[in-house]
Amino acid sequence: MVPPIIRDALVYANAVTLMSIGFTLIFLISRIPNFAVSTFAVVGVYCTFSMVRLLHLSPYIAMPLGFIFGALLAIVIYIGVIDPLIKHGAGPILLTISLLAIQQIFIAGVEIYADYVRNVLGEYSRGFMLRANDFHIGNVPGVLIVSTAVILVVIVSMHLILKRTQFGIAMRATVENEPLAAILGINVKMVSIVSWFITGGLAGLAGTFLPLWFQSGTTSGAMLATSVFASSVVGGLSNIYGAMLGGYLISLIEVLGSYFLMKKIGLWIGSYRMLIPLTFMSIFLMFEPGGLSSFIDKVITSYRRRKIMRRMQHEI
C-alpha cells in the first residue's frame, strides 16, 4: 500500500517535526538555539532500547517514559543552569556555550550507560534497530501509525493551548514582550519552565520512535540535529506553525531528495544525505531570511492588500 520510501520519509519527518517544534518554542521563549534538543532524543532512543532489549516489554511503553525523562532533563537544565545564567545577565552566546557543554555532558552520560549495558549486562547497545519488535497493520508498520497519530495530537493540542487557553495567551505574550508580560502579572518563569518541559518531552517522544524504524545509537541525536536546525531555520524561528511546515518540508526533501539522487546519480551520494538540508537552508536563507512563516505572511498580506485595493476601486 504505502511504498517503503514514503514510510521512511514520514517516520523521519514526524520525528524531526516534533523536535523542531521544541527547538522553535525554546528559541521563542528564551532566544537561544537549544542544541541540547538532540540529547533529549537520544534519551528517548535509550528508553525504547531498555524497554525492548532489557525488560522485554512492548516498545510503546517507552513513549510516556521517553516523554517524562526528556521533560525532566529539560527542566533540570533550565532550573540548574539556564535560569541562574539569565539571572546573572548572560547573553545568548554564553547560554549557547553552556548548552553545548550540557550536551557534551549528557551525551557522555548516555555513552556511559551504553558502555555499562554492553560490558556488564552483555547486550549490544550501539547501532541497534528494533523493527522486529513493532506491530504491523497490513504492510503499514505500527511506528508510522503511532507517530503520525502522536504528531496530529501534538499539533492540535499545541494549537488549542496557544489559541484557546489562558496559559497559551500568557505564553504568546511572553514571546512578544517579556518585560511587559511580567509587568502584567504573567509568571514568566513558569512559562519558560513549561516550554522547556514541552520541548524536552517532545524530543524524548521523537527519540522513542527512532529505533523502531532506523538504526539508532548514541549518535542518533547528532544525525538528526542538522535536520532539526535546518527545519527550524527554514520555518522561520518565529512561530511553531513555521516549525511544523519546515520540519515536514526539510525532512521530505532530505529523504525523498536523497532517494531520487541515489537513483539518478549513484548510490555513493547517499552518504552526503546530511548536506541536503544544510544546502537547502543556506539557499533559502539567502532569498528569504525570515523563513517560511514570513514568506507566508508576505503572500497573505499582499493578497489582502490586493483584495482591499480591488474593493476600493470597485467602490470608487
Binding site: 546573572h88 548572560a90 552566546i93 544544510l278
Partner: protein, 357 residues
C-alpha cells in the same frame, strides 16, 4: 626510558599548546574583538588538514615520480615511505613544499570562510551560530565520505617534510611551529591594538551606530571571518605535519570548536594573553588526564573518555556560572595612533577640564 617519556610528554604538550593557541587567539579575534560567534571554527582546522593531506603526498609523488601506476589512496603508506626516502636528501624541496602548502591552505580556507559566511552574515547572532555549526558539520561530512580527499574514515599518511633534520626533527619542527604561531599572534595582537580594533569593537558593541558613522559592518565581519579562517587553517596544516597523517574523524566539534571556546572563556574574552593562559591550563590538564587515563580504566565498566568529557563540560559550566569574565578580564587597551595626553591638552586649551584618573 622514563626520562624519554617525560620529554615526549612535554613536546606533545607544547605542540598541542601551539596548535590550540592558534585556534583560540583567532577565535578571540572573531568573538572577543569583533563579536562573531564562530561556532564552526573546526571547519577551518579541518580545511587546513584536508589541504595538507590531499596535496602534499600527491605533489611530492609527481615531483619524484614515485609508483605512478599505483592508486594514491589505496597504496598510501607505500608511496609515502618511498617519498620520505627521497626527502631525506632534499631539504629544499621539503621546505618549499611546506611553504607552498601553507600558502595554498591560506588561500583555499580564505575562500571557504567567505563561502560559509555568506548565508547568514547579515542575520542576527543565533542564526549565524546555527548556520556556522551546520557548515562545520558539512565540511566534516565531506571529509568523512569523499574517499579521494583524505581517505574517508581511514586516514592518509603525510610525507615527513622535515625528515632531513634527522634526530633533531621533533624539536626542529616544534621550533618552526612555534615561530609560525608567534607570527600569527603578533599579527593579531598588532591588529587588536591598532585603530582597526576600535572599529571592530564598535561593530561588536553596537553594529547600528557603527553603520551610522559610515562603517561597513557586513564587510568588516566578512573580512574578519575570511582572515581568521585562513589563519586558523595553519593550525590544521601544522597538526597534519606533526602527526604525519590526516584523520577526517579527528576534526570533531568537541575537539576543535568546543575546546577552543572553553580556552577562551577560561582565559578571558577579548584579550589575547588571557586566551593563551586559558589554552595552557586546558592543554596541561587534558594531557595529564590522557596520561593517567589507563590507570582508571581498570576500575570502571566504561571508557574513561566519557568521564573526561563530563568533567570538561562541568568545568566550563562552573566557569560560565561563577566567573564569566575569565581569568583576565578585558581591559581598555592603549591604542597606537591615539595619544590620550594630546587629546587632554587640546581639550584643556579650549577650556574643557577632564577629571583626573
Amino acid at each position: 626510558m622514563r626520562y624519554e617519556i617525560i620529554i615526549q610528554w612535554i613536546i606533545d604538550l607544547i605542540m598541542f599548546f601551539i596548535l590550540y593557541c592558534i585556534v583560540a587567539i583567532n577565535l578571540n579575534f572573531l568573538y572577543g574583538y569583533t563579536g562573531i560567534p564562530h561556532f564552526g571554527i573546526s571547519l577551518s582546522v579541518a580545511g587546513g588538514g584536508y589541504v595538507a593531506g590531499a596535496l602534499t603526498g600527491r605533489i611530492l609523488r609527481w615531483i619524484y615520480n614515485v609508483y605512478p601506476q599505483l592508486d594514491f589512496m589505496y597504496e598510501n603508506s607505500k608511496i609515502t615511505n618511498e617519498i620520505n626516502r627521497h626527502l631525506i636528501h632534499d631539504p629544499f624541496v621539503g621546505i618549499g613544499i611546506f611553504i607552498f602548502i601553507i600558502v595554498v591552505s591560506l588561500l583555499l580556507n580564505a575562500g571557504l570562510g567567505y563561502i560559509v559566511s555568506r548565508p547568514a552574515i547579515r542575520l542576527r547572532g543565533s542564526y549565524l551560530i546555527i548556520v556556522l555549526i551546520g557548515m562545520a558539520e558539512a565540511v566534516r561530512i565531506i571529509g568523512l565520505n569523499y574517499y579521494p580527499l583524505v581517505g574517508g574514515t581511514f586516514w592518509v599518511h603525510v610525507p615527513d617534510l622535515f625528515i632531513w633534520m634527522g634526530d633533531f626533527r621533533t624539536v626542529g619542527y616544534l621550533i618552526i611551529s612555534a615561530f609560525i604561531a608567534l607570527c600569527i599572534f603578533l599579527l593579531l595582537q598588532a591588529m587588536s591594538t591598532s585603530p582597526l580594533a576600535r572599529v571592530l569593537r564598535a561593530v561588536r558593541e553596537n553594529p547600528t551606530s557603527a553603520e551610522c558613522v559610515g562603517k561597513d559592518v557586513i564587510g568588516i565581519r566578512t573580512k574578519v571571518i575570511v582572515l581568521c579562517s585562513a589563519l586558523t587553517s595553519i593550525s590544521g596544516v601544522l597538526y597534519a605535519f606533526y602527526i604525519q597523517a590526516v584523520l577526517a574523524t579527528a576534526y570533531t566539534r568537541a575537539a576543535w570548536t568546543f575546546y577552543p571556546w572553553l580556552m577562551m572563556m577560561v582565559g578571558g574574552v577579548g584579550n589575547n594573553t588571557g586566551t593563551m593562559i586559558g589554552a595552557l591550563i586546558f592543554i596541561t590538564v587534558r594531557r595529564i588526564i590522557i596520561y593517567y587515563k589507563h590507570n582508571i580504566e581498570a576500575y570502571v565498566p566504561f571508557q574513561v573518555q566519557w568521564l573526561e568529557q563530563i568533567l570538561i563540560g562541568l568545568a566550563l559550566l562552573i566557569i560560565i556560572m561563577f566567573h564569566p569574565q575569565g581569568l583576565i578580564p578585558e581591559k581598555p587597551t592603549k591604542m597606537r595612533g591615539l595619544n590620550y595626553e594630546n587629546i587632554r591638552k587640546k581639550l584643556e586649551s579650549v577650556g574643557i577640564k577632564l577629571p583626573k584618573r
